[in-house]
């Protein structure tokens, strides 16, 4: 659907040059909810603006349904954008805002009226049709911005952190709403966010970006359970990093020796090619705490109760920190106390060897 290859963008010249996008290669599929996830300044917005046509890439190619769109100005591309600040036209009513794109395409008046009516229903804003955009709340403005971008039936909808201005509760509602709109309209969504939870709950696939590069592309579970790089593991969720030694790799299975001297099977990096010292990532909830000696041994330093779960902070023999997260059950007195000598274990295949 959208094919991007070798896309780069450099701002400025000479010593002031800043590479915002560095050799981006990605294929976004039809009807997909695709998320660009990364910290601010990672290039995700620049990539989105390149698709919209507001940024002119320095090199590379970008096609939508096989058509090269790079020479096209924003108004000739079959994409629409939901802007971070919504950018609703303040001199128009809600209905006029929604109809603007259709009007600019010179569609017949009757058709515009009908589509605007449908869109107002879709985002549940019909009673507000004749309000000015300054007379509605932030959440309502968000819906209008969505309807305005969806009304011309674009092939791709681009969303630039559209939920960041909303409060927590409204954001949760809109996440579900966005998912619903995407499945109802069948339009490909490209969603930009720095919120890892938002990305995990909404996306079909996620591209994690940092410093202008895409580090990993995959489904939410894939990205979370098997981060390919230290940055991805660190940025998404909490992770324990262990220094380990790679013994052997057989397909997807890597055998590593932990600092404690014990050996365990873990997931190998795609492509392989590693040897010697590697970093192993283990999610806190994938490890279990035991009173007996485990794969790793240490001393319990701190217990933090979170309601749904409890975090056990352990200092391993050798000095590095490790966190185990355990879901709380009714009436379970585990009997762990600060200062106890404890063991930490995890199953074979749970750890992920990270790319250097």
């Amino acid at each position: 659907m959208i094919e991007i290859s070798g896309l780069s963008k450099t701002f400025g010249l000479g010593a002031n040059a800043f590479t915002a996008l560095d050799d981006i290669n990605v294929e976004i599929r039809q009807n997909e909810f695709f998320t660009l996830l990364g910290p601010s300044g990672c290039g995700k917005t620049t990539l989105l603006r390149s698709i919209a046509g507001f940024v002119d890439p320095t090199s590379g190619s970008l096609t939508i349904e096989g058509q090269d769109v790079l020479p096209l100005p924003p108004y000739a591309r079959p994409v629409n954008t939901v802007f971070q600040n919504y950018a609703l036209f303040p001199h128009m009513t809600v209905a006029q805002n929604i109809g603007f794109g259709l009007e600019m395409q010179d569609r017949p008046k009757a058709e515009i009226k009908q589509v605007v009516g449908e869109m107002l229903e879709l985002v549940q804003m019909a009673p507000m049709a004749d309000r000015m955009t300054s007379q509605i709340s932030g959440g309502q403005q968000q819906r209008v911005a969505l309807a305005r971008a969806l009304a011309p039936r674009p092939k791709v909808l681009l969303l630039d952190e559209p939920l960041s201005a909303l409060d927590f509760k409204l954001r949760k509602e809109m996440q579900i709403e966005l998912k619903r709109l995407q499945s109802e309209t069948g339009i490909t969504f490209v969603f930009v966010t720095h919120d890892q939870e938002e990305a995990l709950t909404m996306s079909d696939r996620i591209a994690v970006m940092s410093s202008g590069r895409i580090l990993q592309i995959g489904g939410p579970k894939d990205i979370y359970d098997h981060p390919a790089e230290r940055f991805v593991a660190d940025f998404i969720g909490d992770t324990n990093f262990l220094e380990a030694t790679l013994q052997s790799v057989a397909g997807e299975v890597a055998t590593v020796t932990l600092p404690s001297g014990k050996t365990v099977a873990a997931r190998a990096v795609q492509g392989g090619g590693q040897s010697g010292a590697v970093t192993l990532a283990v999610r806190p909830e994938h490890a279990v705490l035991t009173k007996e000696s485990g794969l790793l041994d240490g001393v319990l330093e701190n217990i933090v109760y979170f309601g749904t779960d409890t975090h056990y902070h352990i200092t391993l023999d050798g000095g590095s920190a490790f966190v185990v997260r355990k879901q709380n059950q009714p009436n379970t007195g585990e009997g762990f106390e600060v200062g106890d000598k404890v063991g930490v274990s995890f199953e074979a295949g749970v750890g992920q060897v990270l790319r250097d």
Partner: protein
């Protein structure tokens, strides 16, 4: 609250209002009333007025009495001056808009730290004496001036083009003098303009021209209206510019009024013409603001 403290509060309110009221009374309403009063008196032999009621002055605004046989006819001279004043002022406003709008747009789209320098460049001529600026325009367009010398020197023309002492000269002069008054309010409106709206419109299939017409212009329109009024009103009553660049041949309302209070020694007629000028300005403003408002309704 008691009656007494109520009265006291009212009195204090009047006291606070008094500076504004005094200015209104002595600087605005008072002089205006004197002018209205003068327009209904008889001219004195050596200027001034004689305290005798007469409507002759108002009569003479539009009608003239033949000197020899007392027949009445429309005062072509006055009417043509009215017409020229309105026409040249409209032209000035239009040209100032055509040049001022892109200028304001240009400045508003510069980086923040550069905008003040550009505004300063626009404002510098405004701080120069009006006469000096007008003579500068004269120096450029007179027969032996910069433009004609250049064109003759390049062999494009043999004879100088007569530009000075024409309506063109007056319009050019007024445009140059009042341009900052158009640029400033439009710039003020554009500086507040959220340019992400332009991106939103581009994204929604609007071409550059349509973005300008449907998004930028309607939002900065209050600035355009303010600028047009600020240019049109002083143009209509302009005195120095038409005097210098029109050479006494192309009179405008301001010159006609001056003539009546000066050489004409007809203060009542001068007063009546002044009130007429005020009336034209007010009618023009009402029509303009109404028209601007209606367009907004139809476009939304």
């Amino acid at each position: 609250m008691t009656q007494a403290s109520d009265t006291q509060a009212t009195r204090r309110r009047w006291l606070l209002l008094s500076p504004a009221l005094l200015i209104l009374l002595f600087a605005a309403s008072g002089p205006l009333l004197i002018v209205v009063l003068y327009s209904f008196l008889t001219p004195g032999d050596y200027g001034g007025v004689v305290w005798k009621f007469s409507t002759d002055a108002w009569f003479n605004v539009v009608v003239e009495r033949d000197f020899f046989d007392d027949t009445l006819s429309f005062s072509d001279a006055h009417l043509s001056i009215f017409w020229r004043s309105v026409k040249l002022s409209l032209m000035t406003t239009l040209v100032a808009f055509i040049v001022g709008f892109p200028t304001a747009y240009f400045i508003a789209t510069r980086p923040k730290d550069k905008r003040d320098i550009w505004m300063l460049l626009i404002m510098i001529p405004f701080w120069t004496n009006l006469l000096i600026r007008t003579f500068a325009v004269m120096e450029i367009i007179r027969n032996e001036g910069v433009v004609n010398s250049l064109l003759i020197g390049l062999g494009i023309i043999d004879q100088p083009i007569q530009m000075l002492f024409t309506e063109f000269a007056i319009t050019l002069g007024m445009f140059y003098v009042y341009l900052p008054l158009m640029v400033l309010p439009i710039y003020a409106a554009m500086e507040r303009f959220d340019f992400s709206l332009v991106e939103a419109a581009y994204d929604l299939y609007a071409s550059r021209w349509r973005v300008l017409r449907r998004v930028i212009f309607p939002i900065v329109k209050p600035g355009v209206i303010a600028g047009s009024i600020l240019v049109f009103v002083p143009s209509l009553g302009a005195y120095v510019t038409p005097r210098v660049l029109g050479g006494g041949k192309q009179l405008m309302l301001g010159n006609l009024i001056e003539l009546q209070f000066g050489q004409g020694r007809n203060w009542p007629l001068g007063a009546a013409l002044s009130i007429t000028l005020l009336a034209i300005v007010m009618v023009a403003l009402i029509v303009y603001v109404r028209a601007a408002g209606r367009e907004e309704m139809s476009h939304g």
